[in-house]
Symmetry: C2
Subunit: 141 residues, 2 copies
């Protein structure tokens, strides 16, 4: 019930000790926020400068993260206006979608197999993981 803002602006944070580069941490946090519905199509991301100040890093680092996200079609940027979540699902053809999924899955399959996991184990684990993600609906009390 904060009187000023209605949508909390999403908390970004960086872990310098993780070994994961800053720009990748930002990308992951955006991806995750989309995955669980905290970001939806049309939402504006923090500005390059504001996020840079908040995280105490250089604006270029934030810009790089936003840039990669735009290359992947996840966000749209307009100079002078801002960076926004795009409606990415519409932007891919069926062939592109399948190719991308294949690329995401192939390494998982190979590694899982070499560690001795059977297909059913993998699929069950995936089902479990999806239970932790709210499927884009509202979740007010």
């Amino acid at each position: 019930m904060s009187p000023t803002v209605d949508k909390r602006p999403i908390q970004f944070s960086l872990d310098p000790k993780s070994g994961v580069p800053y720009y990748k941490q930002i990308i992951l946090q955006v991806e995750f926020a989309i995955a669980d519905g905290r970001f939806v199509t049309g939402d504006q991301l923090p500005t390059v400068r504001s996020l840079a100040v908040e995280l105490k890093i250089n604006p270029n680092t934030v810009a790089r993260a936003y840039n990669e996200l735009e290359i992947r079609g996840i966000v749209t940027t307009q100079q002078g206006t801002g960076t926004f979540i795009s409606n990415r699902t519409i932007r891919l053809t069926e062939v592109e979608r399948e190719g991308m999924l294949e690329g995401l899955i192939r390494p998982l399959i190979t590694k899982a197999a070499s560690y001795g996991f059977a297909m059913d184990e993998v699929i069950n684990a995936i089902r479990d993981s999806y239970e932790g993600i709210e499927p884009r609906g509202e979740e007010k009390s």
Copy 2:
């Protein structure tokens, strides 16, 4: 029909133009060979030196690959003896196994979701991928 050896020694190969570091290419080829049954528990990998000569790279690069594979529990090395495929599935507790699967799956889920893939699409794609891998059994005609 080679008169000397009965088990073909598995062809390793490197692609310098792929951008994937040599040691990772070796790891992937071992993982894949295990996944489709060309390597089974107890098999000896090529020696560090022989593979280095064959691939025209430094022994340390091969050693690094074998090292990571050992850290992951996929192979066992004995100085002076050789490097062998270990019986990894036995070496992990149930908890460790689940944790490892979780670690493999989490990034996939997040990315897939941010690209707009539904759980069913992911699972179907995984089923398709597994069709390309022989499930460790004999596959004679």
